[in-house]
Symmetry: C2
Subunit: 131 residues, 2 copies
DNA sequence: TAAGTGTATTAATTCTCTTAATACACTCCA
DNA sequence: TGGAGTGTATTAAGAGAATTAATACACTTA
């Protein structure tokens, strides 16, 4: 189902969270479908069940999964995680705006910076598709 | 010159940075005046010179000090640290923009959020002055 | 009730951060 | 010119947090 990278310096549970989140967002894992049990997935990846448990707990907290004790973990419907993602991003943006504005940066230069980043991302996207 | 708090869970070098930065920003330490040597300040605080060295290095990186090897550390002029604060803010903004854009948020809604925050800040400012 | 599931607690381990010990290199001035 | 003062670099010791593992518990269902 997923593959771990032991050269990656990040903790295992974080890798698991990231990959499963990706599979859910991309629709590979459908809402209400059953996730592998903590033990099964742990076995498959040759790691401890608690590590999967931790990943599942985080995913549940973020709204990507829901749990029924004794039955298993299931993929949550889109509504439950779309909101969370959006508000996390907005939170991050708001905080940055607040800091910038109260330090005296003005609206125009903030927007200029935004367009800067947009252009950079577009260029990167163009490069990637040219490979 | 400064006083350490051993109940504070933060590292010593961070406390030193914070207190010295404060003394510089508030003008207690004047531009181009000489800072105590790493050994002298270490002795005064009964800690290792390397800890002061680390604090001084961070302060230099942030533009609060400049160093002349063999002579000592000196307080930097205002211009050199005001700029650093700006670029830290831009860095924060850029990161937030990158996340928002790659998650599909569009330019207009980002700007809308910005104006939202601006309005909120203005209202707060108005309230404060009415007190 | 047995097999499969999630959960809780505790401990071992690993790792990073912080601090210290020590040796090196530069500047200045008597 | 050499000694006292300065910053710098390298390495290692120590402490603490984060990660992972071991194990026992509790719930659900067939």
């Amino acid at each position: 189902m997923i593959l771990l990278d032991y050269r990656d310096k990040r903790p295992l549970y974080e890798q698991v969270v990231e990959k499963l989140e990706h599979l859910i967002v991309c629709g590979v894992l459908k809402p209400d479908s059953k996730m592998p049990s903590v033990r099964a997935l742990a076995m498959e990846l040759s790691i401890n069940p608690n590590t999967i448990q931790r990943a599942y707990a985080l995913l549940e907290q973020a709204g990507f999964l829901y749990t029924i004790v004794g039955r298993g973990n299931f993929v949550a419907p889109e509504e439950s995680w779309q909101g969370g993602k959006q508000s996390a991003l907005k939170e991050e943006l708001s905080k940055a705006f607040e800091n910038a504005l109260s330090a005296g940066m003005d609206r125009d230069s903030i927007i200029a910076l935004l367009d800067n980043v947009r252009q950079k991302l577009e260029e990167e996207a163009a490069n990637d598709s040219n490979k």
